[in-house]
Amino acid sequence: MVIDIAIVSLAISGALATYRVLRGPTWGDRVTAFDYLTVNLAVMVVVVALRTGFTPLLDAALIISILGFLSTVALARYLLRGRVMR
């Protein structure tokens, strides 16, 4: 019961952040909401692992959080300087 409430509220959060990604007036809003979406996806995978008891999903959550952090940093650096690294 608790975990169903958790999954539904995470889905609503993802929908709200997707609205901000699509609507966002500037690129900063879009990058912020995209960062939030990756974190939300990792947390949702952890919650699904809790629901099913299938612990290998936790590896997927770790990979998702690493990729989300790297893509956010790369986007921020690209938008600041026009290149990711020299």
Binding site: Y36, V47, T52, L79
Partner: protein
């Protein structure tokens, strides 16, 4: 059949499916989750979900980039704390606890850092912020210096 009527029929089928899912979830033959029988873990997961939902509401409702960043990095760090701690407690008899703690440690290292990177590039590229009467940019004197150092490094 018109498009509107077809859409209405599909929505009715979807509502019936959701109702069936709810009834099945309330039934006795529901698969047990790892969270059953851990009231502390359930409370922590619910708290984390409340904070993540508040972060999403702030992301929609706040007026500019910087306030949205405030919502989407601080609240997300606290919400991730709740959910990962709850998962670590609930997975304790199984083999998932060290991996959940690894995810939590990585998350705490990187979530404020990504927020910092976004805020830095947004300020240095001069994105507009929400202003009222009496709003002051405290960093305006430092702006040119900061931009010069950002161009160098």
């Amino acid at each position: 059949m018109t498009t509107a009527r077809r859409l209405g029929r599909r929505l009715a089928a979807l509502a019936a499916l959701a109702g069936g899912g709810m009834a099945a979830a309330a039934g006795p033959e529901r698969a047990p989750s790892a969270l059953d029988g851990h009231p502390v873990a359930q409370a922590l997961v619910l708290l984390g979900c409340v904070f993540l939902l508040a972060a999403a509401v702030g992301l929609v409702r706040f007026p500019d980039v910087y306030t949205r960043l405030h919502a989407a990095t601080k609240l997300v760090t606290l919400g991730g704390l709740g959910i990962f701690a709850g998962a670590a407690i609930a997975f304790y008899p199984m083999d998932g606890t060290p991996r959940v703690l690894l995810i939590a440690a990585f998350f705490f290292l990187t979530a404020p850092l990504s927020g910092y990177m976004i805020a830095r590039s947004a300020y240095l590229r001069g994105l507009p912020w929400y202003q009222e009467d009496g709003s002051v940019d405290d960093w305006q004197a430092l702006g040119s210096e900061a931009q010069a150092s950002a161009q160098e490094s």
